[in-house]
C-alpha cells in the first residue's frame, strides 16, 4: 500500500517565482515536484517601520516583509507541528499569531478548519545557519516529516560581482583636495557614483574603512547588513554615523566590538573576500573572507567580536595573513583580485612584488625627473625624492624592500595559495615599492612609497568577467609626460587581463600621502547574479541537510 500523501509544502512568494519548493510525502524525492525540505529565511534584523526598534524585537512590525511564507497543503485530519532547535531564534506565524518558537509554543495542532486544506504560515528568524527543525506529524497515521529552517548568511561581496553603487567623499581643505580623483570617478561612473558629504562626516575620507556591506538572500527577500567598524573615524567620529545614515527598510547596520578596543586592524580596508573557490573539495560559492591578523595576539588583528562574527559566516570561512609589518596594516595594501574569464577559475590574484617595482624604477635613467615625488616630505606633499635615482640609488631602501619580500610578501602568497588553492597561473605579481614609515615618533612599518597600485577599486561589469580597475597613478615620470611613458603603468598594462581596463587616477595628495590609495578612499556595493545567489543558497541547504 502506498504511504498516503500527508502534506505538500510550497514555499511561496518566491523571488521571480523561480524557487517554488514543493514537498510531498509519497513522491519520488528526485521528481520535479519533490522539492526541498529546507526553508531559507533572511534574518529579520532590519527596521521596516523605521521606528528605531529592529523588527524581530517587535514581534510583528508594520510593513515587515522579512519572512518565508510556507504553503502547507494539508491532506491529514490532525496534524501536529512542532519546532525543534533554538526556540529563541525562530518564530512561526499563523495569520497574526505566533504559534511556534519565540513568543509561541513548542507545538501546534493545525486548526480544525484547515483539515485537508491549504494554509499559509510565515517563518521568521533571528540568526543564520541551521536554526531549527519543523516536524509535521499526522497524528492518526503515525507518519511525520521535517523541514529544516536555515537563516541565510550575510556575506561579503567579492570582486567578481557586478558593481552597483560606489562611494567616495569629495573633500576640499586649504591646500589639499581630491578634485582630480573625484572628477575622474564621476566621468567614468556616472550615476553609479555616490558622494559622501565631507562636512557631515568630518572630512574622514577613508570611506573603505568604516562600512562593510554584506547581504543575505532568501527566495523571498534580501537584506543588507552594513557592518559599522569600531574605528569610528580613528576615534574622532568621522564616518561613524555614515552607516546609520544608509539605513532603510531591508538595510540595517550593526557593530561588533567596543570602540575603546579599536586598532588599525579594525578598519575595513583590512577585511576582504576572495572570488568563489573550491578548496580541498569544499565549495565556497561567495569566496572566502580574509583579513590581516597574526593569528595569535589581540591588538594585531580585528577584535575578537568581529572575528567571531566573521567565523559565523560559514559559507565564507575566513582566513588571515600577517599584516602587522605594514604601518596601516590593511590587507588591501598588498593584494587584490580582478576578473579574468581566461583564468582557470575566472580571476587573477594580484600581489605586490618588490623586484618588479625595482625593475620599473631602474628601467628609466636615474636622472629622470619625477612628478610629485620630489615635493617636500616635511609638509607631507611628497617624498622628497625628485628623480628616479632617488629611489634606485638608495641602497638602504632597496635592502629594506628585499627583506619585505622575503619576510612578508612571500609568506602571504603562500597563505593565499594554500587557503584558496591558488595555482601559479592565477597569481599575478605587480610592481610595488615601500618605505619604512615613521609616524608619531615611532617606527610604524611599511607604507607604499610609490603609490600602491594594487590597492585598487575594481568596478566590475554585469557579466562579472571584466570591467575597469581604478588604480593610483604612480607618477613615476617627468611632469607633463604621458601616462604611457610611466614604467609602472607600462608594466601594469601588460599584466592586467584583457577584459580589465585600467584607469590611472590622481590620488596623490589626500590619499597616497595620507597612507592610503584609491581602494581606501572608496567603497562599493555589489549585486550578485541570481546564479550566484542560487549557488550560495544551495550551499546553505546542503549544509542544513
Amino acid at each position: 500500500m502506498r504511504i498516503p500523501i500527508l502534506l505538500i509544502l510550497a514555499l511561496g512568494a518566491c523571488r521571480g517565482d523561480q524557487t517554488q519548493i514543493v514537498w510531498t510525502s509519497d513522491t519520488d524525492p528526485s521528481a520535479e515536484d519533490a522539492g526541498s525540505q529546507v526553508v531559507l529565511v533572511v534574518p529579520n534584523h532590519d527596521d521596516d517601520d523605521r521606528n528605531g526598534v529592529p523588527d524581530w524585537q517587535q514581534r510583528g512590525a508594520e510593513n515587515d516583509d522579512d519572512f518565508a511564507t510556507l504553503t502547507l497543503r494539508n491532506r491529514a485530519r490532525d496534524t501536529l507541528v512542532t519546532l525543534e532547535g533554538d526556540q529563541d531564534l525562530v518564530r512561526v506565524w499563523y495569520e497574526d499569531e505566533i504559534v511556534l518558537g519565540e513568543g509561541g509554543a513548542e507545538s501546534w495542532l493545525l486548526p480544525e478548519r484547515h483539515r485537508r486544506d491549504t494554509i499559509e504560515v510565515r517563518v521568521e528568524v533571528n540568526g543564520w545557519g541551521p536554526l531549527g527543525l519543523l516536524r509535521l506529524q499526522d497524528m492518526k497515521r503515525e507518519w511525520s516529516t521535517e523541514v529544516a529552517i536555515v537563516g541565510s548568511e550575510p556575506t561579503l561581496a567579492h570582486h567578481l560581482l557586478p558593481s552597483e553603487r560606489i562611494w567616495v567623499m569629495p573633500a576640499r581643505l586649504p591646500g589639499r583636495n581630491n578634485d582630480a580623483m573625484v572628477a575622474d570617478l564621476k566621468d567614468g561612473l556616472g550615476s553609479m557614483l555616490h558622494e559622501v558629504d565631507a562636512l557631515t562626516f568630518d572630512f574622514d575620507v577613508w570611506v573603505q574603512d568604516e562600512p562593510e556591506f554584506t547581504r543575505a538572500w532568501s527566495p523571498d527577500s534580501e537584506q543588507t547588513l552594513i557592518i559599522n567598524s569600531i574605528r569610528n573615524g580613528q576615534g574622532q567620529g568621522g564616518l561613524m554615523t555614515f552607516p546609520p545614515s544608509l539605513v532603510e527598510p531591508d538595510v540595517h547596520e550593526d557593530t561588533w566590538g567596543q570602540p575603546r578596543d579599536a586598532t588599525t586592524f579594525d578598519a575595513f580596508g583590512n577585511l576582504e573576500a576572495s572570488p568563489p573557490v573550491e578548496v580541498d573539495g569544499v565549495n565556497y560559492p561567495m569566496g572566502r573572507i580574509y583579513y590581516g591578523w597574526d593569528g595569535v595576539n589581540e591588538g594585531v588583528g580585528p577584535v575578537r567580536e568581529i572575528r567571531d562574527h566573521l567565523d559565523s559566516i560559514q559559507s565564507q570561512r575566513p582566513f588571515w595573513v600577517d599584516t602587522d609589518w605594514l604601518c596601516v596594516a590593511h590587507i588591501d595594501e598588498v593584494v587584490s583580485f580582478v576578473p579574468d574569464p581566461t583564468a582557470p577559475r575566472g580571476f587573477r590574484f594580484l600581489v605586490s612584488d618588490i623586484e618588479l617595482g625595482y625593475q620599473a624604477i631602474t628601467s628609466v635613467p636615474a636622472e629622470t625627473a619625477l612628478t610629485n615625488h620630489g615635493l617636500s616630505s616635511v609638509t607631507g606633499a611628497g617624498h622628497g625624492r625628485p628623480t628616479a635615482g632617488s629611489y634606485a640609488n638608495d641602497t638602504a631602501l632597496r635592502a629594506y624592500n628585499q627583506d619585505l619580500q622575503r619576510d612578508h610578501l612571500e609568506p602571504i602568497i603562500e597563505t593565499f595559495r594554500r587557503e584558496l588553492a591558488l595555482v601559479d597561473e592565477e597569481i599575478v605579481r605587480v610592481p610595488a615599492y615601500f618605505e619604512e614609515f615613521v609616524d608619531r615618533g615611532f617606527v610604524c612599518g611599511a607604507a607604499a612609497v610609490i603609490p600602491g597600485m594594487v590597492n585598487l577599486l575594481m568596478e566590475t561589469d554585469e557579466n562579472g568577467q571584466g570591467g575597469r580597475a581604478w588604480i593610483a597613478d604612480p607618477f613615476f615620470r617627468p611632469p607633463g609626460a604621458e601616462q604611457s611613458a610611466d614604467p609602472f603603468i607600462q608594466m601594469w598594462d601588460d599584466l592586467l587581463p584583457a577584459t580589465v581596463t585600467p584607469v590611472y587616477i590622481d590620488n596623490w595628495d589626500l590619499y597616497h600621502m595620507g597612507l592610503g590609495e584609491v581602494h581606501c578612499g572608496t567603497n562599493q556595493e555589489r549585486t550578485p547574479a541570481l546564479a550566484v545567489i542560487d549557488d550560495l543558497n544551495d550551499w546553505l541547504l546542503e549544509v542544513a541537510q
Partner: protein, 257 residues
C-alpha cells in the same frame, strides 16, 4: 623636567652648529637657546604666518596621525612650530605632528634644543622624523645624543635615520656601537644598517650577533653578512639551519641554496 619649567629655562647647548643659530653666542663653544624666546621673536617678525600656523587645520592620515597642507614653513618659522609642539595646549597627536613639521626645516641646533626639552619620548621621536634628509650637522647635534636616549624607540629611530641617510657609510661607527644596545629592536636596526653600509671590517661584529637571543637580530646579522660578503654567508648560515625561529631557519636555508 616639565614643559612649563622648560618654558622658562634657558638651554645650555654645546657644539659648533649652535654658533650659527640666531640668538646663539657666536664663536663660542656654548650657546644659550630658548625655543619660547625664539618663537616669540619669530611671531613678531612674521605675524601673519604665525597666525596661519595657529589656525591651520590638520588632515588625518590613515593611521590617525595628523599633517598639514598649505601652511607656512621654513627655517625662520620652525621655532613657532616647535614651541607649539613642546608647550602648546593641544592634544598630544597635534603636538606630535607639529614637532614633525617644525623639525623638518629647523636647524640642527634648534632640533637639538627641542630634543633636550621634550620629556615625551614620542615627541623626541617625532623630532627625528626628517633627520634622514637633514644636512650633515644633524648627526652630531641630534642623532648622536638620540642614540643615548633612555627610550629604546628613540634610539631605534636614530639608527633608522642614520641608516637611511645618504651619508650613512660615514657613520658606520655609530651603527656599530648600537649593535651592543640593550634593546633588541635597536640591535636589529643597527645590524640592518651595518649590512647596508658596512665593510668587511664589521663582519666580526655581525658574526657575534648570530648568537643573539633575539631572532630579528640574528636574521638581520645574517643578512648583513650576506650583503657585505656574500661569499662568507653560506658558512655563517650553516650555523643557523637549526635556529629555533622559522624565519631565521628559512633564510639560512635560502642562503645555503
Amino acid at each position: 623636567m616639565t614643559p612649563r619649567t622648560s618654558l622658562l629655562a634657558l638651554l645650555l647647548l654645546t657644539g659648533p652648529a649652535l654658533a650659527e643659530e640666531p640668538g646663539a653666542a657666536t664663536g663660542s663653544s656654548q650657546a644659550l637657546l630658548s625655543i619660547p624666546e625664539l618663537a616669540q621673536q619669530a611671531r613678531a617678525d612674521h605675524p601673519s604666518a604665525a597666525q596661519q600656523i595657529d589656525q591651520a587645520v590638520p588632515f588625518t592620515r590613515r593611521t590617525g596621525s595628523l599633517r598639514w597642507a598649505d601652511v607656512p614653513t621654513g627655517p625662520e618659522l620652525s621655532a613657532i612650530w616647535l614651541d607649539l609642539a613642546l608647550f602648546g595646549p593641544e592634544e598630544r597627536a597635534v603636538r606630535l605632528a607639529r614637532a614633525e613639521l617644525g623639525a623638518g626645516e629647523a636647524s640642527a641646533a634648534l632640533i637639538a634644543a627641542a630634543f633636550q626639552v621634550a620629556d615625551d619620548p614620542r615627541l623626541r621621536g617625532s623630532l627625528l622624523q626628517h633627520t634622514r634628509t637633514a644636512d650633515g650637522s644633524i648627526v652630531t647635534a641630534v642623532l648622536q645624543p638620540a642614540l643615548r636616549d633612555p627610550d629604546p624607540e628613540v634610539r631605534r629611530l636614530a639608527v633608522h635615520a642614520i641608516t637611511h641617510r645618504t651619508d650613512g657609510p660615514q657613520h658606520v661607527g655609530l651603527l656599530q656601537r648600537s649593535l651592543a644596545d640593550g634593546s633588541p629592536n635597536v640591535r636589529a636596526a643597527a645590524a640592518f644598517g651595518i649590512g647596508v653600509h658596512g665593510s668587511p671590517a664589521q663582519l666580526r661584529s655581525l658574526e657575534t650577533l648570530l648568537q643573539d637571543p633575539d631572532a630579528k637580530v640574528r636574521l638581520n646579522a645574517l643578512r648583513g653578512i650576506e650583503r657585505i660578503e656574500p661569499s662568507q654567508a653560506q658558512t655563517k648560515a650553516s650555523v643557523l639551519l637549526h635556529d629555533p625561529d622559522p624565519k631565521v631557519r628559512r633564510d639560512a636555508e635560502r642562503i645555503m641554496r
